[in-house]
Amino acid sequence: MREGTKMLVKGKNVVITGCLKGIGRSTLDIFAENGANIWACCEKKTTEFEEHILGLSSEYNIWVRPVYFDFLDESTVKVAVKQIHQDKDSIDALINIAGITKDALFHMVSMKDMKTIFEVNLFAQITFSQYITKMMLKNKRGSVIYISSISALDGNVGQLSYSASKAALVGVTKTLSAELSPRGIRVNAIAPGVIDTEMTSGVSGTSLQELINSSALKKIGRPSDVAKAILFLASDHSSYITGQVLRVDGGIR
């Protein structure tokens, strides 16, 4: 057990998407450490993943159920939702991490790529949220968390489609907060800065380094930095926080 982050979500049942790697994987691990039961969603079944979640469930005495679906294939999303529904366990938090990017300068942005990005980062997440929050409303409590991006707030060269899709999530967050918070479900977003994941490794080195240098802490963030902020927003410690976008960026202006 890591000192300092103990049992903040003990006994809560949470749905996490994008668990295969990066921020999602780190979130999966930290929620397990903190005592949550987890529907661990990702696109593909791998031996490594199956073994990993088995390890988590035995180490922390929780259940972790794999849920496999592809956000680009609505029929698989429906099957996944059905699987979660049939478990008949209440849902306390929905953490939407799965997301994609494909960087291109404005004049090079293809409509096809843009539509794919919006499909995964926005439309599929909304559809999935519709299903899951319906189940959450039965308990009249819960927390929904979206992962936006500082590029949605500040803009970033080459990230038109990505930043626009993530900016749309800010609108989703604020509107859902207004609609669902009166019924007990808080809705917030996190805007990560430069985080050390595979996704940022695709961005050109110089612009990343410039961003890092412009941050107050002058260092790249770790996936666990974002995961810990998600933990806070899912925990009861944030019971009066809703409709917010929390920057986890080391202080980038």
């Binding site: 300092g4 009166p182 019971s239 009066y240 926080i241 929390l246």
Partner: protein, 251 residues
């Protein structure tokens, strides 16, 4: 709230700790394993009893420090007491503040100066002292309690809101200056919170404002303290220069 020992063995300073939000911060910090210098203006039996019990229950140390935020010498002596302990400081919560409700045309210059003295100048001076201590170990977290009034503006709160806006702005600059030294600086903007400060508002206004929030209720002081806990703890290691609204969704 169960204890998660998020501040295990940390040393913290909390101003305005004898009531309202500050008192809840002391309670929650102690519950999470922190030692606390609990600063207040005047000694009282009730306060001393509170910190003694709180320290005992959580097996931490809580030391009272008394100074008036309007009095520079007292502030200096209070901080000297903290510094003479030779302990490191990990967290400072600048919570002590005064409120002032007055329409713009009715706001007096004397009251303006007093509000800025307490809510801004004195907080800055305290931070200057404590940053010196934090720099020695190259880590620390400073948390300013601001207000949504600083971000949104509210009728009758031009002076109070401006003083809180000033502290938010200072915190952002401090974050830039101190980031490389491992010191994070953030602010919390509470919305309408169930404290003595509410007594200056009519029930009608309180009810109206709470209906404006997404959660349709006012905040408990402990909910503001919980956000302080997050910003004080390693959970927020990569967060600096931010203002976190703890406002129940004020739109």
């Amino acid at each position: 709230m169960n204890s998660s020992m998020l501040l295990h063995n940390m040393n913290t300073v909390v101003t305005g700790s004898n009531r309202g939000i500050g008192k809840e911060v002391v309670r929650l910090f102690a519950l999470n394993g922190a030692n606390v210098w609990a600063c207040a203006r005047t000694p009282s039996d009730a306060f001393e009893k509170f910190i003694e019990e709180c320290a005992q229950q959580n097996n931490v140390e809580i030391w009272p420090v008394y100074f008036d935020m309007m009095n520079k010498e007292q502030i200096r002596d209070g901080i000297k007491k903290i510094m003479s302990s030779k302990k490191t400081i990990d967290v400072a919560v600048n919570n002590a503040g005064i409120t002032y409700n007055a329409l713009f045309q009715m706001s007096s210059i004397e009251k303006m100066r007093e509000v800025f003295e307490v809510n801004f100048f004195s907080q800055i001076i305290i931070s200057q002292y404590l940053v010196k201590l934090m720099l020695r170990q190259k880590k620390g977290s400073i948390i300013n309690i601001a207000s949504t009034a600083a971000l949104d503006g509210n009728s009758g709160r031009s002076i109070y809101g401006a003083s809180k806006a000033a502290i938010i702005c200072a915190a952002k600059s401090m974050a830039e200056e101190l980031g490389e030294s491992g010191i994070r600086v953030n602010s919390i903007a509470p919305g309408i919170t169930q404290t003595d400060m509410l007594t200056s508002m009519s029930d009608e206004i309180i009810e109206l404002t709470s209906q404006e929030t997404h959660l349709k209720r006012v905040a408990k002081p402990s909910e503001i303290a919980a956000a302080c806990l997050f910003l004080a703890s390693p959970l927020s290691e990569y967060i600096t220069g931010q203002v976190i609204r703890v406002d129940g969704g004020l739109g």
